[in-house]
C-alpha cells in the first residue's frame, strides 16, 4: 500500500507516480481538500482510494484503474473515462461522466446537472437524483438513476439507454419513455449489481431512450430544436 498526502506531496508528483509504467498495487491519497485533477490519466489495473473531497475532473480519462472517492466530487468526475471503475461515495457536481467512452461510474449520492452529458459508452449508476439536462446528447452506454431526474432528461439523445426509478421532471427533445423488455430488465439488474445496489426491483424502473425522430434535418422538426 502506497499513501500520498496531498498536503505534503504536490499533485504533479502524485500524478506522475500514478503514470509510472508497470504500476500495480493499492494506492491511497489523503488530504485532497478539494484539489482539482486528482488521479487523472491513469492506465493501470490498480486500486486508488481518495480519502476526502475532490475538485474538478477527478479520475479524468481513467483507463483500467478502480478509483474510489470517499467524499464528494466536483465538476466532471471521470470525464471521458475509457475503462475501469470510478465510485463516488458522496455526491457529484455537474457533468459527472461527461463524454466517457467506457467503464463504470457509480455516484452513491446525488449527481448534479448534466450527468452523463454526451456519454459515449460508459455505464453510470446514480444512487440518488440527477439534475437537469442529464444525458444531454448522450450517444451510447447506460444511465441508471435510482432517484428522480431533473428537467430535460435525455435531450437530443442518440442511443444511450436511461433507466429511472423515480420521477422525471421533464423529458428533453426526442427522448421518450420506452417499453421495458426482458432484455432491459436483465441489463438493469446487471448494472445495479455491478454498482452494489442489489435490493432494487428492476421492474420499478422506467426506460427512456431516443425516439430517433430528429436524426435527420427536416422542416417539420424545427419546433423541437
Amino acid at each position: 500500500m502506497t499513501t500520498y498526502d496531498l498536503t505534503a506531496t504536490p499533485l504533479r508528483e502524485v500524478n506522475t507516480a500514478l503514470h509510472a509504467p508497470e504500476l500495480e498495487g493499492d494506492i491511497t491519497i489523503v488530504n485532497p481538500f478539494g484539489a482539482h485533477n486528482v488521479a487523472v490519466g491513469l492506465n493501470a489495473p490498480v486500486k486508488v482510494t481518495v480519502e476526502g473531497h475532490v475538485g474538478y475532473y477527478a479520475a479524468g480519462m481513467n483507463q483500467q484503474a478502480e478509483i474510489v472517492i470517499d467524499g464528494n466530487a466536483g465538476t466532471g468526475v471521470a470525464e471521458n473515462m475509457m475503462s475501469g471503475t470510478v465510485v463516488v461515495k458522496g455526491n457529484a457536481s455537474q457533468s459527472a461522466g461527461a463524454t466517457a467512452h467506457g467503464g463504470l461510474l457509480v455516484v452513491e449520492g446525488d449527481a448534479a446537472a448534466r450527468c452523463g452529458i454526451s456519454m459515449k459508452g460508459v455505464d453510470i449508476v446514480v444512487g440518488g437524483n440527477v439534475g437537469h439536462s442529464s444525458a444531454f446528447m448522450a450517444q451510447a452506454g447506460r444511465l441508471v438513476v435510482r432517484g428522480d431526474a431533473g428537467d430535460g432528461l435525455g435531450d437530443s439523445i442518440y442511443e444511450t439507454r436511461i433507466y429511472v426509478r423515480g420521477t422525471v421532471a421533464s423529458l428533453g427533445a426526442d427522448c421518450v419513455a420506452k417499453e421495458m423488455g426482458p432484455e432491459h430488465l436483465e441489463e438493469l439488474t446487471g448494472l445495479l449489481k455491478a454498482a452494489g445496489f442489489t435490493e432494487d426491483d428492476p421492474a420499478s424502473y422506467t426506460r427512456y431512450g431516443s425516439a430517433r425522430s430528429l436524426y435527420h434535418f427536416h422542416v417539420d422538426n424545427t419546433g423541437a430544436y
Binding site: L11, R12, N15, T16, H19, H36, N37, V40, G41, N43, G55, Y56, Y57, G60, M61, Q63, T75, G76, E79, N80, M82, Q94, S95, A98, T99, H101, R114, I117, S118, K120, G121, F136, M137, Q139, A140, S156, Y158, E159, Y215, H216, F217, H218, V219
Partner: protein, 444 residues
C-alpha cells in the same frame, strides 16, 4: 437576348441572389447549408501593402542573405514545444469532413516541409498520425473519438472554442458522409445528420478552462503545448482570457476561415474579418507581456483567408507568429480542379465555385466518404502538391521580408505596412498609404 438591352433595373436590395435564396427557402423550408468560409467581400490582407526598403531601410540580397522562417510554438509550459521549419501550418479539418486519404495527404505535405497538421471533429486516424511529423490534436466540444491514448500520441493539443466560419456554433456532418467508419469513430448511428455541440460539456468560461487545461497537462505529464482556438469575434478579450487560462498558443480564426458544413447565414453574418482580429489579439498579448518573448511567450497563429506568401507576410508583420491554412490547402490538394469541370456541372456547381463540402459528392474525392470518389485521390500526389504550395508560400513571404530588410519572417512589423483603404487602415491599425492617418487610433 441580353437583359442589358431591356432597360430592366435589378434591385440592389433584392438582387438575383437574394431572390433565389428566398425562393429556395420557400421551397425547402430548411436553411442553406454549405462549406467554405465567408464569400462576401471583406477588408483583407489585399488592402495592405509593404513599404520595401530604399533610402532609409536596407534590403537583404534575395539569393545570398538568409531570411529565417523557423518558429517555436508552445515553449511557455510544455516540455516539448513544436519546432517548425515554416510558419505556415495546416488547420484542423476532420476525418469525416475529409476522406482518410485527404487527411493522409495533408500529413504528407506538411511533414515534407517541416510544419504541423491538425486533426478535427472526428478523432485521430492512424493514416494521419502515421504521416504527420507534427500533429496537433483538437479537443472539441463533441469529444468525438477523444481518448487518452491519442492524446499522448499528439505533439500538441488544441482546445477548440470556435472557428471563424461559425463562432458560437457546433459542427454538423450530414448523413451522406456518416459512413460506417466515421460513425464508429464518433460513436454515432450510421447515416444520421450529425449535430456537434457548441459548448464544451464539462467547463464554461475562463476559470473552468484553466482547470481543464491543467487536467490535460497532468494527463500528458506537461509534455505538450496547449493551444486555445477561437473564432474571431471579441478577439481582444478572448485572447487575454485564453492566456489567463494557461494557453501556450492562441489560434485566431477569422470569418473567411472555412468549414465543412454550416448554415450560409452563419458563415456570412457571424464573426469578424481576419484583418480586424489580428491587431486585437496582438494588443492583448503585448499588454500581457507575452508577445514574441523568448521566455514565457505565447504564440499567435492566425487563420482565415490565407492564400499567398504576401498574406503570410502581412499576418506576421501585424504580429502573428504563424498562420494556418485550410481552404487553400484543400485547393492545393486538388479541390475545385478544372479537370473535373464537367462533373462539377453535373452536380449544379462549377470548378472554382464548388462549396458543397457537406454533401459528400466531391468530384475531386477530397471532401467525401464515398469509396469510389475517395479512390480518385492519390495521397502521395496530393501530399507533393501541398508541399509545393507550402514551399511557394514560404518563399514568397521570404521575398517580401528580404525586401523589407528582415533576416527572419518574425522581424516583419506593422511599420512595414500601409493600407490602401480607410477600412483596412482602421482594422489593421496601420496608416493609410501616403498619410500618417490610422483611423480609430485617436484624433479623428
Amino acid at each position: 437576348m441580353s437583359t442589358d438591352t431591356w432597360g430592366l433595373r435589378e434591385s440592389a436590395t433584392f438582387d438575383r441572389g437574394a431572390i433565389a435564396a428566398i425562393q429556395r427557402a420557400a421551397e425547402t423550408g430548411i436553411y442553406d447549408i454549405r462549406g467554405w468560409g465567408a464569400k462576401r467581400a471583406l477588408p483583407h490582407f489585399d488592402d495592405l501593402l509593404f513599404l520595401g526598403a530604399s533610402m532609409s531601410r536596407y534590403p537583404l540580397e534575395g539569393y545570398r542573405e538568409k531570411c529565417g522562417t523557423d518558429v517555436v510554438l508552445g515553449g511557455r509550459n510544455a516540455k516539448y514545444p513544436l519546432h517548425l521549419d515554416t510558419p505556415v501550418t495546416i488547420a484542423g479539418m476532420s476525418f469525416g469532413a475529409l476522406s482518410g486519404r485527404a487527411k493522409e495527404a495533408l500529413g504528407r505535405g506538411a511533414s515534407e516541409v517541416g510544419t504541423s497538421t491538425t486533426t478535427g471533429d472526428g478523432g485521430m486516424t492512424p493514416e494521419e498520425r502515421g504521416q504527420s511529423k507534427h500533429l496537433v490534436y483538437q479537443y472539441l466540444p463533441s469529444r468525438y473519438g477523444m481518448n487518452p491514448d491519442d492524446l499522448r500520441k499528439a505533439d500538441a493539443i488544441e482546445v477548440v472554442l470556435g472557428q471563424g466560419a461559425k463562432p458560437g456554433g457546433g459542427g454538423m456532418l450530414l448523413g451522406q458522409k456518416i459512413s460506417e467508419r466515421v460513425a464508429g469513430m464518433r460513436t454515432l448511428p450510421q447515416g444520421i445528420d450529425q449535430r456537434s455541440a457548441s459548448r464544451h460539456p464539462d467547463w464554461t468560461g475562463p476559470d473552468d478552462l484553466a482547470i481543464k487545461i491543467a487536467e490535460l497537462r497532468e494527463i500528458t505529464d506537461w509534455e505538450k503545448p496547449i493551444y486555445v482556438k477561437v473564432g474571431a469575434t471579441r478577439t481582444y478579450y478572448d485572447t487575454k482570457l485564453a492566456v489567463h487560462s494557461g494557453a501556450d498558443v492562441v489560434v485566431v480564426d477569422g470569418m473567411q476561415g472555412g468549414t465543412a458544413a454550416t448554415q450560409d447565414v452563419f458563415i456570412e453574418h457571424v464573426g469578424i474579418p481576419t484583418l480586424a482580429a489580428v491587431p486585437q489579439a496582438v494588443q492583448a498579448l503585448q499588454e500581457l507581456g507575452v508577445h514574441r518573448q523568448a521566455e514565457g511567450g505565447v504564440q499567435l497563429i492566425v487563420s482565415g483567408g490565407i492564400r499567398t506568401g504576401a498574406d503570410v507576410a502581412k499576418a506576421m508583420a501585424l504580429g502573428a507568429d504563424a498562420v494556418a491554412i485550410g481552404t487553400a490547402a484543400l485547393i492545393a490538394l486538388g479541390d475545385n480542379d478544372p479537370k473535373y469541370a464537367a462533373e462539377y456541372e453535373k452536380i449544379g456547381s462549377a470548378a472554382g465555385f464548388y462549396d458543397d463540402f457537406q454533401d459528400g459528392r466531391d468530384p475531386a474525392g477530397i471532401t467525401t466518404q464515398d469509396p469510389e470518389l475517395a479512390a480518385r485521390f492519390d495521397p502521395v500526389e496530393g501530399g507533393r502538391r501541398l508541399a509545393n504550395y507550402l514551399r511557394v508560400l514560404t518563399m514568397e513571404a521570404q521575398t517580401i521580408a528580404r525586401a523589407c530588410g528582415k533576416a527572419h519572417l518574425t522581424h516583419l512589423e506593422p511599420e512595414d505596412l500601409v493600407a490602401v483603404t480607410i477600412e483596412a487602415a482602421a482594422m489593421a491599425r496601420v496608416p493609410l498609404a501616403g498619410t500618417s492617418w490610422i483611423p480609430g487610433q485617436g484624433g479623428f
